[in-house]
Amino acid sequence: MSTTTWGWLVLLFPLLGTLIIAFGYRRLPGNTAGVIGTAAIGLAFVAALGALISLEGHSTSHQELTSSLWNYANTVGVNAEVSILVDPLSVFMILIVSGISSMIHLYSISYLEEDRGFARYFSYLNFFVFSMLLLVLAGNFLLLIVGWAFVGAASYLLISFWYRRTTATKAGIKAFVINVVGDTGLVLGTYFIFKHTHTLDFLGTFAAAPHVFHSGEADIVAGCLLLLVGAIAKSAQIPLHTWLPDAMEGPTPVSALIHAATMVTAGVYLIARMHVLFELAPAAQDTGAVIGAATLLIAGTIALVQTDIKRVIAYSTMSQIGYMIMGVSVGAYAAGMFHLMTHAFFKALLFMGAGSIIGAMGGEQSLQKMGGFRKALPFTFACFVIGGLALSGIPPFSGFFSKDEILLVTAELGGWHWALYAIGYLGAFLTAIYTFRMIFRAFYGDPVHEADELEKGHLHHKEHATNPANGEIEDDDVGFPGPHHTIAERALPMKVAMIVLAIGAAGAGLVQIPGVDDVVVNFLRPTFAGSPLYEPHTRDGLLIFGLCLGTVLGLSGIAIAYRIWVREPAIAVRARERFGAAYELFVHKWYFDELIDALVVRPATAAGRFAQGTFERVFVQDTMIGGSTGLVRAGSAAVRAVQSGFLRYYAALLVLGVTGVAFYFLLQT
């Protein structure tokens, strides 16, 4: 089979899975829907492997393959084909997306076992993966936009999966609205580029771009900045990030999927895919780098003080995506994509671990109520620590290799990029602290009631299921999660998924040890062949310094976390009192929600009210609608008066009329 056929198969399986589950859900007994969904994504992964092997058979100069199924529309200069582009970058992405997603599907089979919306869940989940695969395989802007919008829609469906929870539906709407802002940016950006290149096709655009655009020209900068808006909305970067923490309202595996594989990585992919354009727009590149750096720092500080375990991980994702956005914006494409891969492993793993703890807590998510789960959840603890070490960048875990490489490339650009370099390491230090704060608070200390019970072999169940966000009592009907919870220790599928990801989180970094085996760099080279920023770096001294600095910062972060949250918990209270202002700032998430509320939501609401009061009430309703009906009513009243019902009166009118006409003609002659 040709390489592109494998590419089409990658798209086919998740789509088939969606359709089979969606249309056959009544006839799928037990957890068949979950098995079908998992198998569909597993087959997609196999097809992605097929694409990889087949692609490796081509010589490096012929690794950009396109294939078109049919011509969707060919009109007024727009040639929109349903075509895919299979090149090292897209193959790299489909491997990560389908691989991680298949593990998350497997985990979900157990995690949502008792949920009344089981089949619906897997149908959405398959659709989510299909959308993301479509996004990364798209061979032109049109299909990219389609995949982009599908991902947004699927995320909405899954975030508000428990649709009777008000908090969940609100979070879903928030995510959708902010993503639409990004979609608008993407579409407008595409237009700016299409206006000059006259083609939607990626390869055609990239070939034409250097000829039709001068570096830094207004249109290309505007186009790339708009694409960047799309990227930061989808990747939850400042200031369009507020949907991501709220998206924690979805089921925990969905959070894993959004964070690790299918959604927030789309922005990173977009910038890497459009690197030809971004290199022609240095202003957009710099903006991306600054946004990434700001996000990684701000998200890190917020993660320090959050108490919801899933939100801590969510802010950590924002922070890590900040590294990737910064990386691909400064030209560290391979390093950015490599970090995307390692992050996918350990972030999915951390979410799965969090899901297991939440299961043990009976749905409770607050770190303040957790503690001492080390003995009760030994397996989850081990996985969580592996994920945490990888996230903190401790050698030889995977995060160690990928994070430092991004920062190395950043530093090589010199000048103000050194500031980004410093911020990156500050962020790494914060990462280690908040990650191990989470671990120490959940697993160390005195065992809480739930942990005690679990050690005696009894999984805690609350009397009433409640919403962890606001404590509302819920029933166990469809649309609510219900009282049933699962822990990894007692569910084989969850265990298998977590073991696989733990191996990845521990070992995936080894595929690219700088200077030893540059697997990712070499694999991705054909995609980035034209880029002057791509080739490996020569500053060995800085490389070794960076690796050492990263290790030292990671370890000292862990040490500080250990001191504060295990040895002397009083320090945390003292620090909170001493740095009250900073604590308030972090706990309120730097007031971004309030800022957006004040800058966008309130003015828009006020404008809406004003327009309703003046324009709609007075102009549309009173003047236009009221005026026209009034006119017709007055006219008909006048005409109705003639219709008196007096027969003799009609006759008189008739005679008078005929006489009048007769006289007129008589006088004429």
Partner: protein
């Protein structure tokens, strides 16, 4: 005799009919007056027919009579129906069809 006399008589009959329709309130009399109007018109048709010396006007008059017969049929039927329902036999009272 000149055609003028015929037309004068016809106009007088027609005007009498029209006046009757306008001033009388009994539907039966209104129908009678309608007949007068039609016959006034018939008279002038026949007079014109004789003036031109062909039968077209007479045929026209015959058709008008047919129409008049039909109309009286319906009109009298309605009068009977009004009577049976014990409604007032007065066109000024029967004015439900006002706008």
């Amino acid at each position: 005799m000149s055609i003028g006399w015929y037309l004068a008589v016809s106009a007088i009959v027609f005007a009498l009919g029209a006046a009757g329709v306008m001033v009388r309130r009994n539907p039966l009399v209104v129908l009678l007056c309608l007949e007068l109007m039609l016959n006034g018109a018939n008279l002038s048709l026949v007079a014109f027919s004789r003036m031109w010396g062909n039968g077209d006007g007479q045929i026209f008059a015959l058709i008008v009579m047919t129409v008049a017969a039909c109309e009286v049929c319906i009109g009298l039927g309605m009068v009977v129906a009004i009577y049976r329902r014990k409604l007032p036999i007065d066109v000024d009272e029967l004015r439900e069809l006002q706008g």
